[in-house]
């Protein structure tokens, strides 16, 4: 047996109500800082939080039940609506799980296309997150609009490729739906080449900002042990100093062909989570540049995969990818029919909220907004 100590799970302490005056505030669901419709029942003593219970389900539409009444391919456009900022990585996660279930090989060019659009999704998600985080902190407008400006360029590329800015519905089992239009790659190279300039500008504007540091350093600290035990994934986990990136661990798709580093934080506070995203964007730019250089010609669909009457053999598979928010997993159980017997989405946003209370205890209510912003949730995925 190893000697690593695991954190004992402490549940929210019951404050002695006879001695202090407690104030219960319902934050949300209609509040811009909740990034959707999400509610937190916060109990406060003065201004500091003594108890916080997240309330879910405002956007629940039972995605999984609907998918169990739909063919395998029929659920593909619906995965766009999970994390509606990152439809392409949702497509990818689902396609990967079905490919594992049915044993489908993906042609090389399609893998490159997936990496390119997937990493672009990561760029626009992180750009948006750092913009919204600044907005949550009260720097109204400017940083968010800077981020939106860059994101819009990437969304234009998505639109040119897939026909939609956000609901892309691009991937298919065994490949991708359409090939690159003429001139797309040159335009994409131009946009990506300009991206580091935006990052420099953004960092020069904000990284050393005194207010930013005062509001984020030492706020919402998440320890390494608790992060691992609570199944936190993605940039939030790496900000706590755990070197775990599924692109490196599983080497799914063709990620072993690219050289990139995994940035790690060491404090696990909001500032680290913010900086991890900025650093990750720089690494993502590296991956994109390599992928756009190496992309070969060739088919983009596996010709043996049936589109109609697609029936995987009875069995089950769990496929996962590193989505911009963390580990996005799809668990599928097939009974040999054209509809999945069980379809499960492992939502990174929901699992990352497990420790929201621990991170917020003792902080002011204004910090709760910043801590929640640094988790990076999308309610379409949390509530499914």
């Amino acid at each position: 047996m190893s000697t690593t100590t695991y954190p004992t799970i402490t549940l929210s302490p019951k404050p002695d109500e006879s001695e202090v005056q407690l104030l219960e505030v319902s934050m949300g669901p209609q509040h811009p800082s909740t990034h959707g419709v999400f509610r937190m029942d916060v109990t406060m003593e003065g201004e500091s939080v003594v108890k916080l219970k997240p309330v879910f389900g405002y956007l629940h539409r039972n995605h999984e039940k609907i998918a169990e009444q739909e063919t395998y391919l029929g659920s593909m456009p619906y995965t766009d609506r999970l994390d509606y900022l990152c439809s392409l990585t949702n497509n990818w996660g689902y396609a990967l799980a079905v490919e594992k279930l049915a044993g489908i090989a993906v042609p090389e060019r399609a893998e490159y296309l997936r990496v390119i659009v997937g990493e672009m999704t990561r760029l626009q998600n992180h750009a948006l997150l750092v913009g919204f985080l600044m907005q949550d902190m009260g720097s109204s407008g400017t940083p968010l609009m800077y981020a939106f400006r860059e994101r819009e360029k990437l969304l234009d590329l998505f639109e040119a490729l897939t026909g939609a800015r956000m609901m892309c519905n691009y991937m298919r089992f065994g490949g991708c739906r359409v090939d690159l239009p003429a001139g797309w790659l040159d335009q994409a190279k131009k946009v990506i080449a300009g991206f580091p300039k935006f990052l420099d500008e953004y960092e020069a504007l904000l990284a050393g900002n005194e207010i930013l540091m005062a509001r984020t350093q030492g706020v919402g600290v998440l320890s390494k042990e608790l992060a691992v035990s609570a199944g936190i994934t993605g940039p939030m986990l790496r900000a706590s100093g755990v070197n775990y990136d599924i692109r490196k661990v599983d080497k799914y798709s063709i990620y072993d062909r690219f050289s990139f580093r995994v940035p790690l934080g060491d404090h696990g506070d909001v500032y680290d989570r913010y900086m991890i995203r900025l650093l990750e964007m720089r690494e993502t730019v590296k991956i994109l540049q390599q992928a756009m250089e190496q992309i070969p010609e060739g088919p983009i669909m596996d010709p043996k995969t049936k589109v109609r009457n697609f029936r995987p053999k009875a069995g089950e598979a769990y496929g996962r990818i590193e989505s911009p928010k963390g580990e996005l997993g799809f668990y599928l159980v097939s009974d040999g029919s054209p509809v999945p017997y069980r379809y499960r989405v492992r939502p990174p946003s929901l699992v990352n909220l497990t420790v929201l209370e621990e991170m917020c205890l003792g902080h002011n209510v204004a910090d709760v907004v910043v801590i929640l912003g640094s988790v990076d949730i999308v309610l379409g995925e949390v509530d499914r």
Partner: protein, 210 residues
Amino acid sequence: MNLETIKAEIEANVPGCRLQLVTNASPCAQHSLLLDAEHAVSVATYLRDAAGLRFDFCSNVTGIDWPQREVSEKVKVKKLVDGVETEVDEVKKTIVPGYLEAVYHLFSMELKHGPVTLRMCTQDRETQVHLPSLMYVWRSADLQEREIWDLYGIIFDGHHDLRRLLMWEGFVDHPMRRDYVDPDDFEYEPTAHDDVLRRAQLHAAETGGQ
């Protein structure tokens, strides 16, 4: 990671546990271990702590509903046909009782391997729906077990806060079960106005609609 060796190692170190290897016919060959409810917590703790395994990351927790089903298989039966003993094909029907299943997908962040899939089954779908909660072994099971209780109705003994997660308080059924029937007024949700509306109706009845 070979599941056979993991199974043998657990059996040697957790006395009394009954494990069963469940094979998966799909090409990815992710086989799983079926745990018995009594020893599930100690097996899970062993998987998390043992030096060569270190499954410290429980990624995905989910439920599956298996309603009662009829399995028919062809069997050859020897029968006397016109005084001659011959082999005759007969369809034998057996009824598999329904149950609910909880599935855990484990990975190791320290040793970077996985997945190992654990399963647990309840005895039936109506009353014996208890399973031990693993949230004190892996904290990530906290919200996900709540979701299973909400959508499937498995009661996780020992869970600290087993409330509904996605459906609202006061909702009675478990919507992910296979035999769940949508209500006619599926848009109905209790709102804060219900009480006000009820009092308004009372008032209208008392005053004769004035």
